[in-house]
């Protein structure tokens, strides 16, 4: 799909988030997938402030990108954290040259097959509420046009979290962030349940949950809850969403 259409499509989906049963984690996953496609070859991830002084990974376009982001948080170093802390875009054109800046992170990133990163802040007025991270397998910087597009995606993420711009925005921000973070935990619990029941890996479990939610037009959060409370069986999930773990064209990156 041409870039302009992809961006337009993402804005249309953003409009869908205004309806009552919108699922923020699912939307942020779509956004990460879109970024991976827009800036390909690339993987993308979204981190949100946990309002306890830290960041948490909420969505990613691949398990590989997610693990790298988790590694970054665990070791408290890397471009996404710097971006969050300073509220400014952070670029790393070549991890080969960044050993001094982030010694642990760069080794892990290169081992995961990445060579460069762009981190864009999710900014709301003076607050930074998260970061959008792009990891690419080759060195180099995005050009200005791409960077504008990437920042637009980061802004879409911010807007999706903060739809209600009223006097109550501090309350809405706190509620939305906490809702998203806990929703992410529910999904992790459901992934574990599925992995054990169906003897599949966690990545496959997530694909199953998400594909089912998509095809049945249900919220990812609700599907996860239904799996946990045994209201949805593995057979029902598989029937609607056949397991095809290597369906994604980006899987060829690894």
């Amino acid at each position: 799909m041409p870039r302009e259409r992809l961006l337009a499509q993402t804005f249309v989906e953003l409009a869908d988030t205004l309806v009552a049963d919108f699922d923020i984690v699912d939307f942020l996953h779509t956004l990460a997938d879109r970024c991976a496609e827009l800036f390909k070859p690339a993987e993308a991830g979204v981190m949100l402030a946990d309002q306890r002084g830290g960041l948490r990974v909420v969505a990613s376009s691949s398990e590989r990108a997610r693990l790298l982001e988790l590694f970054e948080l665990q070791n408290e170093q890397g471009p996404c954290l710097d971006c969050f802390r300073n509220g400014e875009r952070v670029v790393a054109a070549d991890f080969g040259d960044d050993g001094a800046r982030w010694p642990l992170f760069t080794v892990e990133a290169v081992a995961a097959g990445f060579r460069s990163a762009h981190s864009l802040p999710l900014r709301f007025r003076t607050q930074v509420i998260g970061a959008l991270n792009l990891f690419r397998p080759q060195p180099g910087l995005l050009d200005d046009r791409d960077l504008t597009g990437a920042q637009a995606m980061a802004d879409i993420a911010t807007i999706s979290i903060l739809q209600e711009r009223t006097l109550r925005e501090a309350r809405v921000l706190a509620e939305q962030l906490q809702r998203a973070l806990n929703s992410r935990v529910v999904i992790e619990q459901a992934k574990g349940v599925l992995a054990e029941r169906a003897k599949i890996n966690l990545d496959e479990a997530f694909t199953l949950l998400r594909t089912y939610a998509r095809t049945q037009n249900r919220r990812l959060h609700d599907v996860s809850t239904a799996v946990i409370s045994s209201l949805l069986t593995i057979e029902e999930l598989s029937a609607a969403a056949p397991l095809k773990p290597s369906r994604s064209p980006r899987a060829t990156l690894t």
């Binding site: 509620e175 809702r179 992410r184 619990q189 992995a195």
Partner: protein, 233 residues
Amino acid sequence: MDTDRVASILVAIGPGVGSDPASYPERVCAAGVELLGMSGAGLTLMTKTGLGAVWASDEACQKVEDLQFALGEGPALDAFRFAVPALEPSLADATDRWPFFGPQALALGVEAAFSFPLQVGVICLGAINLFRDRSGFPSSDELADALVLADVVTEDLIDLQAQGALHWGPSDHLAQRARVHQATGMVSVQIDSDMATALACIRAYAYSNDVTISDVANKVLGRTLRLTSHAFE
């Protein structure tokens, strides 16, 4: 996770729930008042079918807590039902939010109310409720303290459920450990339990084998450890 913040909250609560369970709820309420500069704090434990128990930092606050359950509305009930913090910086300006609770709480001197669910994913045990005699949204620092307090109390209560597992230190705080949540899901299938029991089992296993919770989670996810009843023998 800010380990200094976790540490200061653990210090404010005092001994872990395992070493002195009887005074634990009072100490949590006191920590909420002192650490966060609130005028009152309450702890409510709930089950899906109804209220479990309520504690409060003082008698006035107990009245506010009782009011919520007598009227069937209020921040604690909302936090539990909707699984998100229920934050009301001005009860006077939000008379439509809790039409019965609001005016009566105001009459008892409460201007602002902030309730935080005690939750980890689908596990929700109740709420911690903070009340203030002046209106205004909590500062980001106060908000962070309140969220961490709720995290710590949630873990303590899960440990209490594991029976005898002592308090786990701040170094292994579970709040952002996706792998622990995934392992909890797997263990819930292995032992055919709800999520809270599964998490309690993981924590108890870690404690009794002197390893970290992350180690247990990694083994469960790597399928080298299955937590069945005989895993504890």
